[in-house]
Symmetry: C2
Subunit: 333 residues, 2 copies
């Protein structure tokens, strides 16, 4: 996501053109239903975003011998539209006040309209995928199903003897890795890459998605309010168990936690509405060894993503995929 022109001298102009076309098709796809509905359905697309998934489609779209630019643009737009659809529903579910620097749709409109807007965007993603053929539709629908089931499983939480950390990593793979993997896979498919390469980049995408989410958990603790616009520890305040917290809980459950671990978990269970209390627990966690463990896990998942690329022929595109994976944790290294 921090890929710049100097990193990819030859690919850059090719990718830029394609991503420009994705942007056009995206803006077209979120509109077309009149002056009342369009501002709602185009709200998040117009608010910007990193377009990580379209970039990945474009990058993997250079891996095979026969890129089909039109299909790559359609697939990239459909994947981004699907992502946007889930954001509308996520923000309702999390009651999130803002997204991408603007009010969430459910704040600007209401919950009902935000839910329906998400549904409309998913329908439009399906229409784009339909133009790619029934196989693409099945793959896209399977991906969306996995994504939703990942989120559902997260709400139910780990059962019985399930390890909390393993469960969490599986949820991250399902709810985020799935769509990133689909982006990579579509790219490979519509460049005419071999099945082996397609499977390799899908696995890569799954793992990059997990690394991205772990980095997000770290960012929740270490980002400055100026950079992210969020108070550090927002997830903790909302009772969301991010990875460092799960590692602490696992230590406690295994009887390996010291007094400091007990103190932190106690604070997490208490009232964190005062900024001072929140800042204290954030500081305690960031000074605890679980922070290094979390960073190591993010690094491990990036490495595993890069390992998955073994079957991909060497070249500028593969180099870019390695850079892309590393960029997931550059933010928190």
């Amino acid at each position: 996501m921090n890929l710049s022109a100097k990193d990819l001298p030859e690919l850059q102009s090719e990718l830029s053109e394609q991503l420009g076309q994705v942007e056009e098709l995206l803006l077209e796809s979120v509109q077309g239903s009149g002056d009342l509905v369009d501002p709602l359905t185009s709200h998040l697309a117009k608010a910007g975003g990193k377009r990580m998934r379209p970039l990945l489609v474009a990058l993997c779209g250079t891996l095979g011998p026969n890129p089909e630019p039109e299909k790559l643009v359609q697939a990239a737009t459909a994947v981004e539209l699907t992502h946007l659809a889930t954001l509308y529903h996520d923000d309702v579910m999390d009651d999130a006040p803002s997204r991408r620097g603007v009010n969430s749709a459910h704040i600007e409109w209401d919950n009902n309209r935000a839910i329906l807007a998400g549904d409309v965007l998913f329908a439009r993603a399906s229409r784009l995928v339909a133009a790619l053929g029934a196989e693409a539709v099945d793959f896209h629908a399977k991906t969306f199903e996995r994504l939703c089931l990942g989120q559902l499983n997260e709400t139910f939480g780990p059962q019985g003897g399930e390890d909390r950390v393993e469960f969490y990593l599986q949820v991250l793979a399902d709810k985020t890795g799935s769509l990133v993997a689909a982006a990579a896979s579509f790219g490979a498919l519509y460049s005419g890459a071999s099945d082996e390469v397609r499977e390799a980049v899908a696995l890569y995408g799954d793992r990059v998605g997990v690394a991205f989410q772990i980095a997000d958990d770290i960012l929740d603790l270490v980002s400055s309010a100026e950079v992210s616009g969020k108070t550090p520890g927002t997830d903790l305040r909302e009772g969301v168990d991010t990875l460092p917290v799960l590692l602490l809980r696992r230590q406690a459950a295994e009887g390996k936690g010291d007094a400091e671990v007990a103190r932190i978990l106690d604070a997490l269970a208490g009232d964190l509405s005062a900024d001072e209390d929140l800042a204290q627990v954030v500081s305690a966690i960031t000074n605890h060894p679980v922070m290094a463990q979390t960073r190591q896990l993010a690094r491990d998942w990036v490495d595993k993503a890069i390992d998955a690329l073994a079957p991909v022929p060497d070249g500028e595109a593969k180099d870019a995929l390695v850079l892309f994976a590393n960029s997931m944790i550059d933010r928190v290294a």
Copy 2:
């Protein structure tokens, strides 16, 4: 929906077998994700329902010379799954306490899980449709888009000079007629019927859907609590403008309303939480001429639905479609 064996002597066994297969595939499609998720995703399917859309697929599946039973079953299941998906979202949006005699999913679980369950069901509907080919997917996605846009437009309400009643009827066609039309259309398609017949039954479906919803508005006022399980006037109490109310408002807006109209609109704007107050306004509306106008509109839409069948060859299937249309208002005649 009140079609019985004696109405359709020859078709009955054929339809019964197909509808049995739909029921099997439906139950299979709402499960398969483990002991925690399955009860949620299968909740509404298991609660029963009239299966109006699958019946229509099956009926129209006898219109052409080459019925493809497997495709008809897949299409009917996909349409019903789509309908179920929208019910999960509808019940969250309306905060409806119950559905089909059981607690709504969002009551039994919570809003977030109900939203995600709806999304999962839509993904599974898409997968079934994917197996039918890209054209079916595009048609299905377009239908879902129209359905959601109908609901969205409803939330925004009529604008500027738009006639409230016309606007409402268009919303009914979009949010309900669309999927009923898709059911009829899929049936005709997978029986090898001509494009002319397919278009005819789609138009029929659109109109039958509108008639069904108008009948629902009438039922809200006239159904006994024993039959529907709902207090008459529930929609009025919740501030939902059903068709008789819209007709009253139009009279008032056009300066054609008498003192009684003003009195009713006044009561509707007030507090209807007491059963006695609600019963009074229900009685006032049911005794007002708008009630006969509403019944006439339902009858008109049934007649328009039947008119749409002109290109369909005479025979038992067409007779059944006429019966089916009439059954929409038999409940409220």
